[in-house]
């Protein structure tokens, strides 16, 4: 019997979808191992109010560490606290979200605990009492099945892959006083600049509108922004390597092996021919739509739905149709 701990990421006091997914995955693994799922929540005073939300997705206990200095993430503050809680809790498995924060935090915790970490995992189950862990390599050109021979087993799970499932548990708050020593920090956050109101990272989005060289010029991007806005919330812009290399779009938007690997619910590839390293980065998307004037473009081999045609005619029409659809409700 082993309990499973999920690290519950919050941003500005809000529980992230990735935290619900981590708790939900922890609950499933704990059930398989005959244990309970716990969640660990760190934040500014008042963050305990978010604990019931974690209980709703399966956390029997929510360990809450509140401190003024924990409102925003600092690796030197967070890593020792998380390592401490894992150690004292005697957990069999620890689940992190493979978000930017999770990818920064989990390796430090692993090193502090002297146990390996499997990151960006896309399958996590219990099979006959043993963990079944699979993660993509080469940006999804292959999948590695892993044997983890250390306790606790640390994993980070790829956002949007594991569905959060409501499985009401007690969500009992276990408030503890985290040890925080800013004098010992080697990293200090000076400022955070938002990319813009409501701007969403491509790795977190549930829908991605990606543009490639077929867009012809960076000045044509309002076309994709229009489509993004018509669809509504949870939509991010993505880009192919070609347009990032050309300096048309920021690297943060790049999807593919030298950018971000994504698994949204819906992926629009607009004017993207589908180079192998791009396909590797987005082929696990649930539904793929491609618009390209070349009927032989490789993108059509992975697309669920394709339109062969001029994107400068197709995209405005698509934006209008979706607007009309949304207006109808």
């Amino acid at each position: 019997m082993a309990n499973v701990l999920a690290f519950a990421e919050q941003r500005d006091g809000e529980i992230l979808g990735a935290a619900r997914e981590a708790v939900s995955a922890a609950f499933r693994v704990a059930s398989g191992l005959g244990g309970d799922a716990h969640a660990l929540l760190l934040g500014a005073p008042g963050i305990a109010a978010a604990a019931p939300e974690l209980g709703r997705f399966g956390a029997g206990v929510v360990a809450v560490g509140e401190h003024e200095a924990l409102g925003e993430y600092n690796p030197d503050a967070y890593a020792p606290i998380v390592a401490d809680r894992v150690r004292s809790g005697g957990y069999g498995v620890v689940v992190f979200p493979a978000t930017t924060l999770g990818k920064d935090l989990a390796p430090r915790v692993a090193a502090l605990l002297d146990v390996p970490l499997a990151s960006d995992v896309t399958e996590l189950d219990v099979d006959g009492g043993a963990l079944h862990v699979v993660r993509p390599i080469y940006a999804g050109k292959a999948f590695a099945h892993l044997a983890m021979n250390a306790t606790p087993a640390l994993v980070s799970i790829r956002p949007n892959v594991f569905q959060p499932v409501e499985s009401p548990a007690a969500g009992t708050v276990d408030a503890f006083a985290p040890s925080v020593d800013p004098a010992a920090w080697g990293v200090r956050v000076v400022e955070r600049k938002s990319a813009g109101e409501g701007a969403l990272d491509v790795a977190e989005a549930t829908i991605i509108v990606s543009g490639g060289r077929g867009m012809k010029d960076p000045s044509n991007w309002p076309l994709l922004e229009g489509l993004r806005d018509a669809i509504g919330e949870g939509v991010a812009l993505g880009a192919s390597r070609a347009v990032v290399d050309a300096g048309w779009r920021p690297h943060g938007e790049q999807v593919g092996q030298t950018g971000k690997t994504v698994s949204p619910k819906l992926y629009f590839a607009i004017g993207i021919s589908g180079a192998i390293q791009h396909l590797a980065g987005m082929r696990t998307s649930k539904t793929i739509v491609a618009v390209n004037k070349d009927p032989d473009a490789p993108i059509f081999n992975v697309a669920d739905y394709g339109i062969v045609g001029d994107l400068f005619e197709v995209v405005p029409r698509l934006t209008d149709e979706i607007k009309a659809l949304k207006a109808k409700g």
């Binding site: 390796p107 699979v134 080469y138 099945h145 059509f300 339109i307």
Partner: protein, 249 residues
């Protein structure tokens, strides 16, 4: 200012890969190998740091089989001063890899140790922050640009939905993303000079791997999609399919 950059040899990202006979690794036959692109950004960042400071040495460190010499030579051709190759077989257990690298870096005087934010093969994003933790050095990940100041380095990190500016106390470990660091091409002169630069090779301290690959599999094939139609007239049907068949809108 002295900078150490850790670099990894990986298959070219444009390469199609096949799983090898043993089923636990790719078949290297016919695969072109390159320096991991993020490590190239880190080498570029190191060279600019040295150039900005007006003095110092850029050292490269790699852990891999002897063919990684080629990767180190590529970095030397870009302008790095010397290379060290720890020969061994790094696997999926990044903590084991980090321990091997940390054992070599322990006691290193260089104020900056740089990594690519991730390796383009395994994409684990672990080794940099693990090495930092093992060495007790502070670390910033996903750094798109940085300026070295007095006893600290100010880093601009790519984070979800924006940019974060952090001050990191030196000596530090940074993992570098593309950002400002478009890598330079090696000049012919650089390639010639690289042949004469010192490249030390020694056996890596082996660490037991506790995370192992039991098998590799190919991604599930996507079911054949359909061409909905041609041009803007196909859009209403596409929207209907997205709504009624895919339940995606």
């Amino acid at each position: 200012m002295d900078v150490i950059v850790c670099v990894k040899r990986v298959p070219d990202t444009e390469t199609r890969l096949r799983i090898g006979e043993a089923g636990t690794a790719i078949d290297p036959a016919g695969v072109k190998f390159i320096m991991s692109p993020y490590d190239e950004f880190a080498v570029e960042a190191a060279l600019r740091t040295r150039e900005g400071a007006g003095s110092g040495e850029v050292s490269l460190l790699s852990y891999g089989d002897t063919s990684a010499q080629e990767t180190l030579r590529a970095g030397l051709a870009m302008g790095a001063d010397r290379g060290v190759l720890l020969t061994g077989e790094p696997g999926m257990d990044c903590l084991a890899t980090a321990k091997t690298l940390a054992a070599e870096l322990e006691g290193a005087q260089a104020p900056l140790v740089l990594f690519g934010v991730k390796a383009a093969d395994d994409d684990q994003q672990q080794v940099g922050p693990m090495v930092a933790t093992l060495l007790g050095r502070p670390c910033a990940t996903g750094v798109a640009s940085f300026e070295v100041g007095d006893g600290k380095v100010t880093c601009h990190r790519e984070v979800e939905g924006g940019v974060e500016v952090v001050d990191v106390t030196l000596p530090a470990v940074l993992t570098i993303t593309k950002g400002a660091f478009e890598p330079r091409y090696a000049s012919l002169k650089g390639i010639m000079a690289a042949k004469k630069k010192p490249l030390e090779q020694k056996e890596a301290s082996a660490e037991a791997a506790r995370l192992n690959v039991t098998k590799l599999s190919y991604p599930p094939e996507r079911a054949a999609g359909k061409i909905v139609g041609e041009g803007a007239d196909a859009v209403p049907e596409l929207v209907r399919l997205l709504r009624e068949e895919a339940h995606a809108l």
